[in-house]
Symmetry: D2
Amino acid sequence: MTSNSGTNSTSPTDAETACFEAGIKFGTLYHQFAGTPVSPASAASLERAIEDAIENQPYCESVSVAILADELDAAIDHGYTELTGRFMEVELVVEYEEHRVTARMAMEEGYPRMRVASIETLD
Amino acid sequence: MTSNSGTNSTSPTDAETACFEAGIKFGTLYHQFAGTPVSPASAASLERAIEDAIENQPYCESVSVAILADELDAAIDHGYTELTGRFMEVELVVEYEEHRVTARMAMEEGYPRMRVASIETLD
Amino acid sequence: MTSNSGTNSTSPTDAETACFEAGIKFGTLYHQFAGTPVSPASAASLERAIEDAIENQPYCESVSVAILADELDAAIDHGYTELTGRFMEVELVVEYEEHRVTARMAMEEGYPRMRVASIETLD
Amino acid sequence: MTSNSGTNSTSPTDAETACFEAGIKFGTLYHQFAGTPVSPASAASLERAIEDAIENQPYCESVSVAILADELDAAIDHGYTELTGRFMEVELVVEYEEHRVTARMAMEEGYPRMRVASIETLD
């Protein structure tokens, strides 16, 4: 592990790995589905498919996607638009070893910000 | 239109435009959703979301996606896999002006082959 | 071929197949790369990769992608943005049998419009 | 923050956030580019574009992508294939506050495994 030679270099803790796994799920979710043609009529099936797809990934306990109907309506003038961050809010839960990470995505200052909301220790 | 100067250069007919539109839908469908984590449990919601998403696009009358359960089962040894051409069959119908194009995707010789199946003239 | 039973149903001509193939390339190009993080500094390598990737596809003779620097600059306020139709113009050429199709994508009325520009007969 | 009410629930440390950010980059990289048509001739421009694209993301210091020529050659029998995990190895570095996370992706038991390799404290 050549880049790992510093005296202050460590392997990740289980909680850090849990956070890394939560990040993978968010990057996957966003970049797999960004660009999907979406309309008010197709939003519900897309929400469900995103949730089910990401829940397949390792350590992923649950995913909840809300496509924002009002934001979508405001943006559409050709019957549909492309899915992007400003049209959805997401919460997902990853469990790795004894750690449960809850992470969320929502718009902040015009940018879809992904954050770790909390880390809990499971009994 | 510099590349259009040959004496044998023509604008597309409506039937040719209908075929172009059908091709767009197939390229969209395949490359938007290829790579999606998929399992037998999540296949149905993904089929539905793909159909609904692509039906949003202009001139697209219907899309039918079948994720192939047996192919999926055979490929999975970590609980899920990534969606790719060998796991799905697709039929879609585009109508442009008085033309209806039916196009299909299925595996041929190890390659997901997309074809125009028929062009019909609508009354 | 159950949906093909009408008396007015035909198989595609070579020119129609050429247009279908051109459509596939456009759908692929757009939905594979929409959502990619892009900045003025990374635009050139992305243009090149898109061109080279799509030129791999069957019957695709050439692809030219221009990421629009001014549009990109105007949209960026966090250092980068996501690639979408309003940031690029594309021309591609497909040759199938004796037909050469030139197709283009550019913004029209706020929507990334893909069109067949011309069909030429090759000698 | 309703799901955050347990007595054992905490906010992430800076090192945990750094790992979350590294995970986002990996999920983005994989699911943005999986499915891209790739051949030995186009691999170099795709490597470069992936690196440049992901380096745009917040806190991402460097990305190194190697598309594996031998694996690609072995898989290709129609001139090209689709990019997927077994054709690439990736190392990326994220710096968040005083933490540098190095993470890697490579195949393990037939699955593209993403791991945090090390966490270093910056002076």
